[in-house]
């Protein structure tokens, strides 16, 4: 009998713990989920914000833009980070769950097309990139490189970057266009894995957000069709919109922000928050902030 009483005590304790957790969640914790591209950025914001507000508890997780938006619709996160626009389908689904989704653009990202530093190719046009990803061009010599088969790498389909490159590079801006990534394209589960592979394979080409660019890979210059010049991806060229492959980064909120979430959003838009955007190698919203040099 005593054992039963112990058990009851134990359950009571568990129950209280859960209650406590639920209580804590309501007041000062924020769940942020979504784009892998934005995880580091979100983490940097969260750390800086929590320094100022020691009571706040912010958890940032990745999984892809789609994962974040799905979580937002299912009510399991407070802010979804997304590197692509929410689709009409997703808006409809959110509406059916009585969510009044708010979209906020919190920064800009440039997609770097990367190759191995030993690759002599320096610049490509969007048409050439499209042909490479669809498998029409299979050898580097066709784009004035070495005589070597191209190893094409892409991000997985749950990545917002994948969807962006599919629509704006592979399909050249026609969202529903018939072009597809060739079946032989390797799908990498993360930007780090892709960087690792490009840095070790001389024949590889891949892409990821400017924030992941390291010295172990080389970013290609891409032809801007309006000015007819080749432009390298950088914070400057993305801000003055001369680099053709850049996109907005969004926050999606299930309703008008209030309480701690509002404080956090305000922080993100503050000068300090936008400086963090620059420090994590993304492009801040206000053009004058480009003058501030990054720390590293």
């Amino acid at each position: 009998m005593r054992r039963v009483i112990y058990f009851l005590h134990f359950f009571l304790l568990l129950f209280l713990l859960f209650q406590f957790q639920a209580f804590a969640k309501e007041t000062n914790s924020i769940q942020i989920k979504g784009s892998d591209t934005m995880v580091n950025l979100g983490q940097a914001w969260a750390e800086s914000f929590m320094e100022q507000n020691p009571n706040a508890l912010i958890a940032v997780t990745g999984g892809g833009s789609g994962t974040g938006i799905t979580a937002l619709i299912n009510g399991s996160c407070d802010i979804a980070q997304s590197s692509r626009d929410m689709s009409p389908k997703e808006y409809k689904l959110a509406k059916s769950k009585n969510l009044d989704v708010k979209e906020m653009t919190v920064g800009i990202d440039a997609i770097a097309m990367v190759v191995n530093p030993d690759n002599p190719v320096e610049e490509l046009t969007l048409d050439q990139l499209s042909d490479i990803f669809t498998g029409k061009i299979t050898n580097w010599k066709e784009v004035s490189g070495k005589d070597e088969a191209i190893l094409v790498l892409s991000r997985e389909r749950n990545s917002g970057t994948h969807v962006y490159v599919l629509e704006d590079v592979v399909r050249k801006g026609k969202k529903e266009g018939p072009e597809e990534f060739a079946a032989s394209v390797l799908m990498m589960p993360s930007s780090q894995a892709l960087e690792q592979e490009v840095s070790s394979s001389k024949a590889a080409i891949g892409y990821f957000g400017l924030g992941y660019l390291t010295s172990k890979v080389k970013a290609l210059r891409v032809l801007n069709p309006n000015t007819n010049t080749y432009v390298a991806p950088s914070v400057e060229t993305a801000t003055n919109e001369t680099y053709p492959l850049s996109r907005p980064l969004h926050f999606y909120l299930p309703r008008q922000p209030e309480g701690i979430v509002k404080q956090f959003v305000d922080f993100v838009f503050s000068d300090k928050g936008q400086l963090i955007v620059l420090e994590t190698n993304f492009v801040p919203l206000k053009k004058e902030q480009v003058q501030v040099q990054p720390k590293s």
């Binding site: 009998m1 892809g64 789609g66 389908k89 997985e156 389909r157 799908m187 070790s200 394979s201």
Partner: protein, 289 residues
């Protein structure tokens, strides 16, 4: 009071006992419910034998032949590598190694089983993948072969520990009898011990294969995930498990893509079920004799 207490404990134990069966049933029903929706507007054979996997296009093309073949290639490779190694290892541990070494080896094998698959995958990505690329002079090390090699490590502990148990159940008198007839130790192992433990060995192999085909994280990291029909081991492949893991987060609930991923789950479930059934039958076949 005591009777009351007894009743509660008994029913709790009963519920725990049938819980696993209940869970399997519920999981299977859920899989069927979500997955079979797909076949309302897509033929079963178009799905199983279709060669194009473009789930996020309009309209989506959902053929999983390349994914099934990808899983089978990786599994076959891992089996070819891990079975001989595993059998040899189990024979050494069970029959030949002296007592103290036996304990160390057993602990080592168990430790290998305890390494999380994502850790193995990560180690494979930074060490094995560049090595395979260099060794075979291919453009990328992200191939079915790398996946097979890594998964072989994961299947080994399962094969070794179950097979070692099987060897243990062979009565000592068999071995003594064989040696008394003038047979050497190797002859004893080959002609007496292995045949009498054969059903346990088959079960060990089958469970090892079951482990490999369901493995997800490591294969997703090191096989390249290109949905093509593989022609050699040194090509990237995309497995069924990696496809589900990589795409589930993106799908809208109730969409065709979503049901297709569940339908892949049904295919996987069917395969692992058959493997486990084979293992079970071979174990029980022995008891009946």
């Amino acid at each position: 009071m005591r009777k009351y207490y007894e009743f509660i404990v008994e029913s709790l134990i009963f519920i725990s006992g049938i819980a696993s069966i209940l869970f399997v049933l519920l999981i299977f029903i859920f899989l069927l419910k979500e997955g079979l929706m797909l076949f309302k507007d897509l033929g079963v054979f178009d799905f199983l034998l279709g060669t194009h996997w473009y789930p996020i296009s309009e309209p989506p093309r959902l053929g999983i032949l390349s994914l099934i073949l990808g899983s089978l290639w990786v599994t076959a490779g891992a089996t070819v590598i891990s079975v001989p190694l595993g059998i040899a290892c189990a024979i050494y541990i069970g029959e030949i190694a002296p007592g103290w070494l036996k304990e160390i080896l057993k602990a080592g094998v168990e430790l290998l089983a305890a390494i999380p698959s994502i850790v193995l995958g990560f180690i494979g990505l930074v060490t094995l993948v560049p090595l395979v690329k260099k060794l075979f002079g291919i453009s990328t090390g992200l191939t079915a072969f790398s996946g097979s090699l890594m998964l072989a490590f994961m299947a080994m502990p399962t094969i070794v520990s179950i097979m070692e148990d099987a060897l243990n159940t062979v009565p000592k008198s068999y071995r003594e009898g064989s040696i008394a007839m003038g047979a050497t130790q190797w002859q004893t192992i080959r002609r007496i011990v292995l045949p009498s433990a054969s059903s346990g060995i088959i079960a060990a192999i089958m469970l090892g294969i079951g482990r490999v085909i369901g493995e997800t994280m490591a294969v997703m990291m090191i096989t390249g995930n290109a949905a093509i029909i593989p022609h050699s081991f040194f090509q990237p492949v995309r497995t069924m498990t990696a496809t589900i893991a990589a795409e589930m987060g993106e799908t809208v609930q109730g969409s065709q893509h979503y049901s297709a991923l569940f339908a892949i789950g049904i295919v996987l479930f069917t395969i692992t079920f058959m493997i486990n059934l084979t293992a079970d039958l071979s174990l029980h076949g022995k008891k009946a004799r």
